[in-house]
């Protein structure tokens, strides 16, 4: 019997569209680290050392195949001077938009991620995780895509108006955001991240029609991903992907985070051999899954997307809600161990 693969070997094998020893699991947990350490969410994310300790504990507890270095989605706008609102039981959220007047876009400049005190915490956490695991497990850094970040920079409504009605300001904003995104992604890779999660929900057909995506988010992603010096996985954060699977592959990204709103079998058929899938357990429903339901959902996902590799099992949003109990996460992990071994059990 051959030795089990390391997490990194397992993930690289599946990203190469081959079957590893078992389906890799990315239980993308952030806030649960605070609970592991007995800290408030705000306190937890105030110090990189907490995130290192939390992520290592979570990996130990659930046998996770990655370490997840995101703090909270709004951290980039926080670095840009935006307001961030912490709550006791959820992710820190963007408050009032950092761009009060869209007419100022042309003169905006964003901070250097390597000197921003806020983002340096993330880089320190990545370096700490790298020191702890070396090449054994991938460390996933995260950026908001230049195309999706304006939801927090401007507000969703004003951003959609900008896309449709002010192409000049849209282009200027993309130019500034692309520079920032590339610099932040590459700083995370330099600190020790193995790959970058490129969060791009606005590119989903849930948010913009494909014709508009091809003229906007697609071009932005193609330019940006080409300049990121490491592999990327694009996450649509619960948005649909089916209509743009080939387009996403053409941006140069290696994997897509897919939604529980779509059929995983159809997604697999569209993605097979072209781009790997990450998903698509429903994190919101997960709050009240029994152990039996968790096993059934895991088994179904593996049955639909596991054959041939090219599949990482995870949630559908890129962050499992704080309200999901540890017992459910343990049941999910156990079900992957039971049903995710390759060659897959024909009964799966």
């Amino acid at each position: 019997m051959s030795a089990p693969m390391t997490s990194l070997q397992r993930v690289l094998t599946t990203l190469g569209h081959r079957e590893p020893d078992r389906v890799p699991r990315f239980l993308l947990l952030t806030m649960h680290g605070a609970r592991e350490l007995g800290l408030s969410i705000r306190e937890y994310f105030s110090d990189a050392k907490n995130v290192v300790a939390g992520q290592l504990r979570l990996r130990e507890r659930y046998g996770n195949d990655c370490l997840y270095a995101i703090f909270y989605a709004a951290i980039e706008v926080e670095a840009m001077g935006g307001e961030v609102i912490f709550v006791e039981d959820g992710p820190a959220n963007a408050g009032r938009p950092v761009i009060a007047d869209p007419e100022t876009i042309a003169s905006l400049s964003w901070p250097d991620p390597t000197t921003s005190p806020v983002l340096r915490r993330v880089l320190e956490a990545i370096a700490g995780l790298k020191a702890a695991v070396g090449e054994e497990a991938p460390i996933v850094g995260v950026v908001m895509s230049p195309f999706s970040l304006p939801v927090m920079q401007l507000g969703f409504d004003r951003y959609l108006e900008l896309i449709y009605e002010r192409p000049d300001l849209f282009r200027a904003l993309m130019a500034a955001n692309e520079e920032f995104c590339v610099a932040y992604a590459n700083a995370q890779l330099a600190a020790g991240a193995t790959a970058i999660g490129y969060f791009d929900p606005v590119s989903s057909p849930t948010i913009v029609p494909r014709e508009l995506y091809l003229k906007t988010g697609f071009e932005v992603a193609r330019r940006t991903i080409a300049r990121i010096k490491g592999p990327t996985a694009t996450h649509l954060a619960s948005g649909r992907a089916l209509g743009i699977v080939e387009d996403l592959a053409a941006t140069g990204t290696a994997a897509i985070g897919v939604s529980a709103l779509e059929d995983l079998g159809e997604l697999k058929a569209a993605a097979r051999g072209k781009i790997a899938l990450l998903g698509n357990l429903n994190g919101i429903e997960m709050r009240h899954w029994s152990a039996e339901e968790a096993e059934a959902k895991v088994r179904e996902a593996i049955r639909l997307a596991g054959p041939g590799g090219g599949f990482i099992l995870g949630d559908n949003h890129g962050e499992i809600p704080f309200q999901v109990p540890e017992t459910t996460l343990e049941a999910i992990a156990a079900a992957i161990d039971r049903w995710g071994r390759y060659p897959l059990d024909p009964a799966v």
């Binding site: 408050g95 089916l242 919101i284």
Partner: protein, 215 residues
């Protein structure tokens, strides 16, 4: 609906989806030039927005189209029926808020849809807490309170809002919407809401159901 109206309605919907304001305006003006202009034009808008919303739920229409189409309709109806016009529907008294969150898109779609349907409404804005919202809605005599959320933690706060409203003996109907409710279809009942909309464009239909005693 006769064939001519069907064609106009399809063309109007298409104009909204492609953001062709000129075409939408021309079709709206034609609807508003008949014998019962207000009713015909508002129905044209309402039917089109509802079909666009249904398309979003099926995954064939994007949220950007729902939002931008709703804005066009709000503008068109607003010219025919300006805010404060006595012909606007002021019953039931409608309130709208984004509970705790600062994500306005859902509430903007709701407001546009309801104004395009000829309703008056009180907008309590965004980032408001359950206690303040309950107090203000009760003081204003709101009958249907529409609450939009994006984050799960905010959606769960609807439970507090519901308790505060019911504790005061209010008969306010609480209608919720937003991503957490779409991903967990049991959530709206769990937090004590009376109804859930999958898209902002569902609001007018839900209010009609409430008026008819179905929700």
């Amino acid at each position: 609906m006769d064939t001519m109206t069907d064609d106009s309605s399809t063309a109007f919907e298409q104009a909204l989806l492609t953001l062709d304001r000129a075409a939408a305006q021309a079709l709206f003006a034609r609807a508003a030039s008949g014998p019962d202009p207000l009713r015909t034009a508002v129905r044209l808008v309402g039917d089109s927005l509802e079909r666009i919303g249904a398309g979003w739920e099926r995954g064939t229409v994007a949220l950007s189209q729902v939002y931008m189409g709703g804005r066009i309709c709000e503008d068109l109806v607003g010219r025919l029926l300006p805010p404060g016009d006595p012909r606007r529907t002021s019953q039931p008294r409608l309130g709208l808020a984004v509970l705790e969150d600062h994500h306005l898109l859902g509430s903007r779609i709701l407001a546009a849809t309801l104004r395009a349907a000829g309703y008056e409404l009180t907008d309590y804005g965004h980032g408001i807490g359950a206690a303040e919202l309950a107090q203000r809605a009760l003081a204003d005599g709101i009958e249907v309170l529409l609450v939009s959320t994006l984050m799960l933690a905010s959606a769960l706060r609807v439970r507090d809002l519901s308790a505060l409203l019911r504790g005061g003996g209010s008969k306010i109907k609480l209608v919720v919407g937003g991503a957490p409710f779409i991903f967990d279809e049991r959530l709206w009942r769990e937090v004590g809401a009376d109804a859930m909309g999958r898209c902002g464009t569902d609001a007018a239909r839900i209010i009609e159901q409430i008026r008819g005693g179905a929700a």
